[in-house]
Amino acid sequence: MKKYWWKILAVVLLTYTIIAGFLGNVPDIAGVHQTIRNLYFHVCMWFAMIVMLCISVVYSIKYLSDFKAKNDIIAVEAANTGILFGILGIITGMLWAKFAWGQWWVNDPKLNGAAIGLLVYFAYFVLRSSLDDNNKRARISAVYNIFAFVIFILFILILPKLSAGSLHPGDGKDSAMPVFTLDFNLRIVFYPAIVGWILLALWILDLRIRYRKLKM
């Protein structure tokens, strides 16, 4: 019980997210209407992805300080899980964008930042697969992971400043959804949903690490 309470919590929170997310009351905002419910899925994917990528870079740093194979496995599996959530985030985002903005892809700093993030991490996996020796692969990909992560974070921090404002709520000049952050009905589902998805990501990560250790 002590060990897996967080898995139960993840199941409970996500069940709540799905039920309350589809059945609960939401404010009717012009332009998005009922698709506002995607907030509980789309936005949470990015939170989960960023958490996974942070874990990945922390274990890459750890690997470079003690050269233990365990840390490399955690780093690569965290990046894998992060990419999974990144792809889900892009897919849910594209569906939402098609509805709210009329196009699958719009020129928006957040979309471009996400696309760059995926490119960077796909390149990370290509780099890994092109190295044969285990130790060398772990070391070189850890170096790239740290280098790329810092530049990626820098990129998503400065990119919004370079463009004429985002279509996403929060930092755009003419945000379509000003009541977004205020509504109580949204908040009581949104915050538990973030925690739930992050816990699910951790669970997937845990399983993948255990699987990799068995194969070793």
């Binding site: 760059i116 092109s130 170096v143 810092v150 530049i151």
Partner: protein, 221 residues
């Protein structure tokens, strides 16, 4: 001590380059050829305005510098690399390579600017700002690409990997540089552009520090 090591390593690189001219001549010709191709292909549709000029310039420079920098760690023979390893500290090696490549990228950018002026006209109203922007940019471009070429030189499929690792990492710097050179093209005053200069400084500094910290892990086998 470090500055002395860097100085001798850079002068070694320059002498090597001048001894076998074919490589450097190839890179210079590459730039001229691309500019000419762009001139011919864009002339037909007649859309060379300031924005297109700018976007094209940085795209050309990105490919040209990718081509120039990708040779950094590859054409060095492994035994000689091992010899340098016993002579100099890894920090001196990476800094000297970055410094040398920055000079190379700057020369390339000035050359393509020159041919740009000849073929497509000079769109930059504030030439000094444009040149300062290019100079600061070449430090950052060189630092990122040199580090990426150090990573990709450790693998088998070198050039492809260099491109896929390098392009996404160059984008943040490139976007700020494009913005800044747009200011130079429209003739915006220095004060408005200041924040972007600071941003480029920041990126240059972060990339240099990262390269310094991480390079010893790559170098050492």
């Amino acid at each position: 001590m470090l500055t002395k090591e860097i100085k001798s390593l850079v002068s070694k690189d320059i002498r090597f380059e001048l001894r076998q001219r074919s490589a450097i001549n190839g890179i210079l010709l590459y730039v001229v050829a691309i500019v000419f191709i762009c001139y011919l292909s864009f002339l037909r549709v007649n859309i060379i305005d300031g924005q297109t000029w700018n976007a094209l310039y940085w795209t050309i420079l990105m490919f040209a510098s990718m081509n120039a920098v990708s040779r950094t760690f590859v054409n060095e023979n492994p035994n000689r690399q091992f010899y340098f390893f016993t002579l100099a500290s890894p920090q001196a090696i990476i800094l000297s390579k970055i410094f040398y490549n920055a000079i190379l990228v700057f020369i390339l950018s000035m050359l393509s600017y020159f041919f740009y002026i000849i073929f497509m006209g000079n769109k930059a109203q504030n030439e000094l700002m444009f040149i300062v922007c290019v100079a600061l940019g070449s430090i950052g471009i060189s630092a990122i690409l040199t580090f990426v070429s150090a990573i990709s030189s450790r693998t088998n499929n070198n050039f492809t990997l260099m491109a896929i690792l390098g392009f996404p990492l160059m984008l943040p710097l490139l976007l700020i540089l494009m913005k800044l050179s747009e200011f130079a093209i429209t003739g915006t005053d220095w004060l408005t552009a200041l924040i972007y200069f600071l941003l480029i400084f920041l990126i240059d500094a972060i990339v240099l520090v990262l390269a310094l910290i991480l390079f010893p892990y790559l170098w050492h086998d």
